[in-house]
Symmetry: C2
Subunit: 150 residues, 2 copies
DNA sequence: CGCAAGTTAGTTGTGCACAACTCAATTGAC
DNA sequence: GTCAATTGAGTTGTGCACAACTAACTTGCG
């Protein structure tokens, strides 16, 4: 892979553009998800938590936070809202009283069916091919990994 | 570019990974920027506004919002904080009294020098090559464009 | 001219994200 | 066994993002 020489100024501009593009794309996704999830009564971060529970079953707050890279300051109020909405149930772990297990209610389980068509709509909205989505996912994963080092 | 057939299930999973990767990468960038900008007393969105002003000079709130794709509900309090920090000055436009012009103060201009090394640090932290950064920027730009349609 | 429609900032309310902190439960060093 | 350090959840405070709304101003149509 050969590359023409790149000036310092261009490098800096490129960096700005990448950071900004990432920021903008993330918000653009949020806006489209807002519509797609409106009828389910979920926000995107709430949807992410539900995905974890649908896939893995009951989990302590800690595990959910590790999977989504979110801390308790974000998850605690979010989970409280999901509980108020009747989608999850919170109970102290018998083995370790510090730990709180999050478990889907019947309504939470049932919501899964209505959420099934969402990913397809989102994917179509990106306008990318499968190969491009793969490339994008791969680059983003490497960036996140590298940034997490620092 | 040939692509093997992809099952529905795989498509849906891939989509989740892309959206989540984007979300995670955006937050990872935010965390690294938080450190890089701490000594300047700026958050990343505040830094974006300063970049616009450093590059284009005095601008009405509307123009800044268009460049950064942010609405007045986000910008008004953010600009008020920059004003409190002594970095910008806000004045009504003489021609159009509805419009508010944002102008850098002396301190705001001077901050530019101290902000110069930031992009290089960020770029190094991504761990990507120039070609990869270009690819990433291009894909993100297309995604954002497509999502803004919907 | 005079008023309806559109534009521009700002306000309010909700929710996410994270730092810094508290508190209770657990673990480990001694 | 006791107590200090660690761990897990939650709270508080700050700031971003956006929807829905208001207020002030401008423009253009009659």
């Amino acid at each position: 892979m050969t590359t023409l020489p790149v000036s310092d100024a261009e490098l800096l501009r490129l960096d700005h553009q990448v950071c900004f593009s990432l920021h903008a794309a993330s918000r653009a996704f949020g806006n489209v998800y807002r519509d797609a999830l409106k009828e389910l009564g979920l926000t995107y971060p709430q949807y992410l938590v539900m995905l974890v529970l649908w896939e893995h079953g009951p989990e302590p707050v800690k595990s959910i936070g590790e999977r989504l890279r979110l801390d308790s300051g974000t998850l605690s109020p979010l989970l409280k809202r999901l509980e108020t909405a009747g989608l999850v149930h919170r109970e102290r772990s018998p083995e370790d009283e510090r730990s709180v297990i999050i478990r889907l209610t019947g309504a939470g389980e049932e919501l899964r069916e209505r959420a099934l068509p969402v990913p397809r709509r989102m994917m179509a909205a990106t306008g990318l091919t499968v190969d491009e989505l793969r490339t994008l996912r791969s680059l983003l994963g490497r960036v996140t990994g590298a940034l997490d080092e620092a």
